[in-house]
């Protein structure tokens, strides 16, 4: 179609093929294409059609473990630069976030956790009593304490998709949708990539396919364990300003934010039902109730709003919840960026770091601990 940002079929040859059209793949393709490299991105379905478009868009520093804080800071900076410097509108907002605790045990846990993160270089304010009410009068009196992190942010998963896809295309990257990879092999010093839309060859192969990444690695003889969570999310009707910070919970059971259009997004990793095979996923009635109960216990006025939609989205997670990032063990030029807890948050940083790795530049932040070799469970090529 004239003017389409997509190309219909993969070219016969490319320098770099990225497999997976979510935030990690798009960011990777964007940085490589902007550096003038020949990049083709293959997506098995609709680009940006799975986890990247179905998550909460929370970009929170203070929910992250200490060992990924530097990566997270880098990624938030890239998220910010997309809009501020690269003309890619991803709906980034940085109102700061409150991480709340509602019981004595949770308050103790919050102290411990924030001390550990402070050790990792993150700055917090500890808030309770009047200080907390002054900052967030909309919080329930049941919230005993909270940490405030001014860096906590969000992006719009929907807006980011269209913008990043357009940016990749504008930079010269070729995106092919509905091209599912059915075979990967090594042939005369390059990768031969069979897809449902024909075969292509690439010198460099980058796997950014979320929950499908393990299956793709296996085609190259590398066995990586990857799990899939089915996270539920709910959104309310548009409402007057109710809360102006990104809310998270020390128990890891809540995320809340009000978007610029007034709708409030309610998440927290509550698990839906379904199986990965066949992509069947549904909301779970009981856990939705628990999710909403938790939300109302923290922001009581939510009870007055109407729920418009609940859905479930995949999140691929490695057994240790750290990103699987780097060269695939035993391969010459195959790389992976997948399976981080919080993959939407880390996607842009992974894209930047992957481009640095391919371009032979020093990494913006150390990446050694994310080496996928740590996850190996079987023989590799």
């Amino acid at each position: 179609m004239a003017g389409s940002v997509f190309v219909e079929t993969p070219p016969r040859d490319a320098e770099i093929v990225v497999v997976g059209g979510g935030v990690a793949g798009m960011s990777t393709a964007l940085f490589l294409a902007r550096a003038g490299r020949d990049v083709v991105l293959l997506e098995r379905g609709v680009p940006w059609g799975v986890a990247s478009g179905a998550n909460a868009g929370t970009l929170s520093l203070q929910v992250k473990r200490a060992e990924v804080l530097d990566l997270c800071k880098l990624s938030l900076d890239v998220w910010r630069r997309f809009g501020a410097e690269m003309d890619v509108d991803v709906g980034f907002g940085q109102p700061g976030g409150l991480r709340v605790a509602t019981t004595d045990a949770e308050v103790a846990h919050l102290r411990e956790y924030s001390d550990e993160q402070r050790g990792g270089g993150l700055e917090f304010e500890w808030l309770e009593g009047n200080q907390l009410r002054d900052m967030a009068p909309w919080l329930s009196t049941g919230v005993r304490a909270a940490t405030f992190c001014s860096g906590d942010a969000y992006a719009s998963p929907l807006l980011a998709g269209g913008s990043l896809i357009a940016a990749v295309a504008k930079a010269g990257g070729r995106i092919v949708g509905h091209a599912e990879v059915t075979g990967l092999s090594r042939e005369n010093g390059a990768y031969r990539i069979e897809t449902t839309k024909g075969a292509t060859r690439a010198k460099i192969l980058i796997i950014t396919a979320g929950p499908w990444s393990g299956g793709l690695a296996r085609m190259l003889g590398v066995a990586l364990p990857i799990y899939v969570d089915v996270n539920m999310l709910s959104i309310t009707e548009s409402a007057p300003k109710l809360l102006d910070r990104v809310i998270t919970h020390i128990g890891g059971i809540l995320s809340l934010k009000q978007l610029p259009n007034g709708t409030i997004l309610i998440g927290g990793g509550w698990q839906g039902r379904g199986r990965f095979a066949g992509m069947e996923k549904f909301a779970d009635h009981v856990r939705l109730g628990q999710n909403l109960t938790t939300a109302v216990s923290v922001v009581p006025d939510l009870a007055k709003l109407r729920l418009v939609r609940t859905w479930a989205g995949y999140e691929a997670v490695a057994p240790d919840a750290l990103p699987a990032f780097g060269r695939l063990p035993g391969t010459d030029d195959a790389y992976i960026a997948a399976a981080a807890r919080g993959g939407f948050t880390f996607g842009p940083a992974q894209g930047l770091l992957m481009s640095e790795m391919i371009l032979g530049q020093p990494p913006s932040t150390p990446i050694g601990r994310f080496d996928p070799a740590r996850l190996l469970t079987g023989a590799h090529a």
Binding site: V46, T310, W311
Partner: protein
């Protein structure tokens, strides 16, 4: 959790008929309805605290309406008004929101009688204040005796156009024009034999025409609305002839001053619940579009779930009343209150009446069959999704940029994702995709059904008793299945 033999979603013509019949044969029946008063759309009435003296067109239906309303107090019937059914969490269980009385109900059989809503008909100016749908106007008239304007134009296609025109004329509006898109006078000869299966309705339609003509309004067939204009609200309506292929002749367009434009291009079954229940659907354009597949005895592909009335395919009030009654017999038979013979003798006369309504419907469908012409009317500025303010131009630009699928258009423009949950725009979106891709509309991917089926207040959803919340030991670690 509440328990009942039969749960019925919807207290309109179909739902109440089913309830009345099933309870008569000894079933315990619970009717859940999201309106404050029973009757659904056709039998909507004034709030009980209102008084009115002037006889209106609706009073002709008083006897049938009163009989239906009486169902809510019938022995064996529990009627829950203001109850929004929003999910089917497990087989035989529905979840509903009803303030402090929200909860779940378990039933041996379920009848979905969800009714219909107006089909969206976008054209330039359709979102101006003063432009209302035929269903919306009927609500205002029946439920409040309000005419939202003085000088009125009615445009559309289908039997509602005449009804609305006549009602407005009798209610005292200054009716200017009533235009029907299909050339029904030309087609009447080919349909009249079937239509006469329901002679009373044919007479009624003739009365409506007469009332419109007596009011001094112009009544035209083969004309349609192509634009509504006004600075902040409706000031004038542009009408133009339309041929049987759906082609508009702009050169003969006429402009009519009006502050009320009623648009009725038919109804669409409300299929949110049957979709959430994963019932199989089929495309029946003459019955309003996507409808649940029904086997014998009105059963959907989901065992124990029956669908009747307009929600199972637009058939009008006469069909809904009879399908409901028949479903009541079917339910009583299935739950052992009637023997097969008893049920058969009760079913036979209803079935022969339904056959007559079917014949009538066939005549009606031939009379009004028209290709949809809306896509030709859209300008780049015409709003398609009014909740999210998405224009036709924006959608077409996205389509040209390669975002052609339902999922891609939804994701990049937010169309269908607002407060109306797509009721006012999904059909147009599917039509735009079909047009651009050359696919028939029934091949265009529908968005995945999502709960809640209707908007529900979060506080209402917290009335149910839930298991205590357990914190994950480490929220970072995976919780789902291993996939590689």
């Amino acid at each position: 959790m509440r328990e009942t033999d039969l749960v019925i979603v919807g207290a309109g013509a179909a739902g109440l008929s089913a309830a009345s019949e099933a309870a008569k044969h000894g079933l315990s029946v619970t009717v859940l309805d999201d309106n404050l008063l029973p009757g659904g759309q056709y039998f909507r009435r004034l709030p009980t605290s209102y008084r009115h003296t002037k006889e209106t067109v609706f009073d002709k239906e008083r006897a049938r309406a009163d009989a239906l309303y009486a169902t809510t107090g019938q022995k064996g019937v529990t009627y829950l008004n203001d109850a929004v059914v929003w999910e089917a969490p497990e087989d035989g269980v529905l979840a509903f929101a009803r303030g402090a009385d929200s909860g779940r109900i378990r039933a041996k059989l379920t009848i979905i009688a969800s009714g219909a809503h107006d089909r969206p008909a976008p054209f330039p100016g359709w979102t101006l204040p003063g432009v209302v749908t035929a269903g919306g106007l009927q609500n205002l008239l029946k439920g409040q005796r309000v005419i939202p304007g003085r000088r009125a134009v009615v445009a559309g296609n289908g039997p509602l156009v005449l009804l609305v025109g006549a009602t407005l004329a009798r209610a005292g509006a200054e009716l200017r024009e009533v235009v029907e898109a299909a050339p029904i006078l030309k087609r009447l000869a080919g349909s009249i034999a079937d239509l006469l299966a329901m002679p009373k309705i044919v007479r009624q339609a003739a009365d409506y025409r007469l009332a419109i003509m007596k009011s001094g309004a112009k009544l035209r067939t083969g004309w349609t609305v192509i634009e509504a204009r006004g600075a902040n609200e409706l000031e004038e309506v542009v009408l133009a002839p339309i041929d049987e292929a759906g082609k508009v002749n702009r050169s003969r367009s006429r402009t009519v001053k009006a502050d009320l434009l009623v648009v009725g291009f038919g109804l669409m079954p409300s299929i949110e619940m049957v979709r959430l229940m994963d019932c199989k659907l089929e495309w029946k354009p003459l019955r309003g579009g996507w409808v649940p597949v029904r086997g014998a005895n009105f059963e959907t592909s989901r065992p124990g779930v029956l669908a009747v009335g307009d929600g199972a395919g637009i058939g009008g009030v006469e069909m809904a009343l009879r399908e409901g009654k028949l479903a009541g017999v079917i339910a009583a038979e299935r739950l052992g209150k009637l023997s097969r013979d008893q049920a058969a003798s009760l079913k036979a006369p209803i079935q022969s009446e339904i056959a007559k309504v079917e014949t009538f419907r066939r005549g009606l469908e031939r009379l009004y069959a028209m290709p949809p012409a809306f896509l030709d009317l859209l300008t780049p500025e015409t709003i398609v999704c009014r909740c999210e303010d998405v224009t036709a131009g924006e959608l077409r630009a996205r389509q040209d940029a390669g975002f052609g699928s339902t999922a891609a258009l939804k994701g990049t423009t937010r169309t269908t994702m607002g407060r109306c949950q797509g009721r006012n725009c999904l059909r147009t979106l599917l039509a735009l995709i079909a047009q651009a891709s050359g696919q028939p509309i029934d091949q265009v991917m529908m968005p995945r059904p999502r709960l809640p089926a209707r908007l529900v207040t979060i506080g209402d959803l917290l009335q149910e008793e839930l298991p205590p919340i357990e914190m994950p030991k480490d929220p970072h670690l995976p919780r789902g299945e291993q996939v590689s």
